[in-house]
Each structure stands twice: as structure tokens, then as C-alpha cells.
């Protein structure tokens, strides 16, 4: 009877609840941001049919080869706009990178 009682009471016990929590942080990428550009300023020379001779003469006097790469006024406008578009894209990409870093790299250096 005793053995039977012990046997039966041990069968229907309440199980202890186990909660497992193990968070494994992702390895950090830690890529350095690209170094900002440091560009050289360039010099534009405007040549018209009226000043062409004078321009080339000045170049020779300054020891510069009397040769110029030319753009029409329309192409100059396109070049300026193209550069502005590249600049905008660069800014957006750079800011996007900053936002990702801000979001995924919290202040204490941990990653989300």
C-alpha cells in the first residue's frame, strides 16, 4: 500500500519550468568610414573668338602648353549639373551610412 501510494504520487508531479535565454551578439563589422575627399581647385579659362589669341599667348608666357580642352556653354552647364548630381548622391550615401551606424552601433560600442 505504502509503495503503491509513493509510486502513484510520484507519477503526476508538476514539472519545473525552464526558460532558456542565450543571446549571442553578432560579430562587429567595425569598418572605418572613408576619409573625406580633399580636392584640388581647377582653373577655368573662357575663350571667345575675340580673346583666343591673347589667351594662348598668356599661357605660353606662363610656361603652360598652349592647348585647352573645350566645352560649349551648354556642355559646361551639363557638366555643372552632373557634378551637382554626383555631389547629392555622395551626400545621401554618406548620410545613409551615418544613419546605419547610429542605429546599429549603440553608444557603448555594442551592436544591435
Amino acid at each position: 500500500m505504502l509503495i503503491l501510494t509513493i509510486f502513484l504520487t510520484s507519477c503526476s508531479g508538476v514539472k519545473q519550468l525552464e526558460i532558456f535565454k542565450e543571446e549571442v551578439p553578432r560579430a562587429k563589422l567595425n569598418l572605418e568610414k572613408p576619409t573625406p575627399l580633399e580636392l584640388e581647385n581647377l582653373r577655368w579659362i573662357i575663350i571667345t573668338s575675340a580673346n583666343a589669341e591673347e589667351v594662348f599667348k598668356k599661357l605660353e608666357e606662363q610656361g603652360i602648353d598652349p592647348v585647352l580642352w573645350g566645352l560649349t556653354d551648354k556642355d559646361f552647364e551639363l557638366l555643372a549639373k552632373n557634378f551637382a548630381r554626383i555631389r547629392n548622391q555622395l551626400k545621401i550615401t554618406n548620410d545613409l551610412l551615418d544613419k546605419y551606424k547610429e542605429y546599429y552601433e549603440v553608444e557603448d560600442g555594442e551592436t544591435r
Partner: protein
């Protein structure tokens, strides 16, 4: 017969005792489970709070990026206006006032070069940060070069 009855009583008492001990043990486990569940609920609440915070951060980041795209678009429109304002023909102007247009072009080229540097992550100078007047700003890209300038 008497011994048999005593045996039954003793067995029953021992059985009851063992059952009470089991109940006490189960009660202890249930209490521990309740504490763990409360802790799990608290963790879940914290998780939901964190998710809300992250969602707000995502919204803010998206808003800022959209604002940036808008101001950059405006810079591009302003550049277009500078070339074509009131049917302006830069080519004809350059023929009429060659030296003046050359000087303006070179000045704008220096500013545009600086704009690329800023866009690539170069920090703003004190002068750029403090510019609030039209005469002080980088007219090629005021939206990124002069954050304190309000167009007037």
C-alpha cells in the same frame, strides 16, 4: 486482525505524509514557476518598449533622409535657375563680359569643389557653420554647407 488494522493505519499515515510532502514540493515548484513567468512577462514588456523605441528611430531616420533629398533637389533646381533665369544665355554673357564671367565661374568652381568635400564627409568649418547671410554662404550647396542659413 488487530495487527492487520494497525498495519493499515500506519501505512495510511505514511502515505498521507508522503502525499503532503509531495504537495509541498509541488507548491515550491509552482511558486518558482510563477516568479519565472513574471520575469518573462517583464522581459516581454521591455522588449515591446525597445521595439517601439526602435520604430520611432527608424521613422526619424527616414524623415531626415527625405528632408535631405528635398533640400538637395532644391540646390539642383537653384543651379538650373542660375543658368537659365529669365532666359539668361551664359554663352552670350561670356562673350560680352568674358573676364567677369571667368571670375564668377572660377569662384563657383571653388565652392562646388568644397561642396563635394563636404558631401564626402569633410567636417564643416566654423565659418561655414556660422554663416547666416547670403554673402557668407556657399551658394553652390547652402543646404549642406551652411546648416544655420535660412533662405530669405
Amino acid at each position: 486482525m488487530r495487527l492487520f488494522l494497525i498495519g493499515i493505519i500506519i501505512t495510511s499515515l505514511l502515505g498521507a505524509g508522503a502525499y503532503v510532502i509531495k504537495l509541498q514540493r509541488d507548491n515550491g515548484i509552482l511558486k518558482a514557476n510563477a516568479i519565472k513567468l513574471e520575469s518573462a512577462v517583464a522581459d516581454q514588456k521591455q522588449l515591446i518598449e525597445n521595439q517601439k523605441k526602435e520604430f520611432e528611430e527608424i521613422l526619424t531616420a527616414n524623415k531626415k533622409m527625405n528632408e535631405l533629398v528635398s533640400v538637395l533637389k532644391k540646390d539642383l533646381e537653384d543651379l538650373d535657375k542660375r543658368f537659365n533665369k529669365k532666359n539668361r544665355d551664359v554663352g552670350k554673357l561670356a562673350i560680352q563680359r568674358t573676364e567677369s564671367i571667368e571670375r564668377i565661374t572660377n569662384g563657383a568652381s571653388v565652392l562646388a569643389t568644397r561642396c563635394i568635400e563636404i558631401a564626402s564627409g569633410s567636417p564643416l568649418t566654423e565659418k561655414e557653420l556660422n554663416a547666416t547671410k547670403k554673402s557668407e554662404i556657399n551658394s553652390e550647396c547652402p543646404s549642406i554647407a551652411n546648416p544655420n542659413y535660412i533662405p530669405y
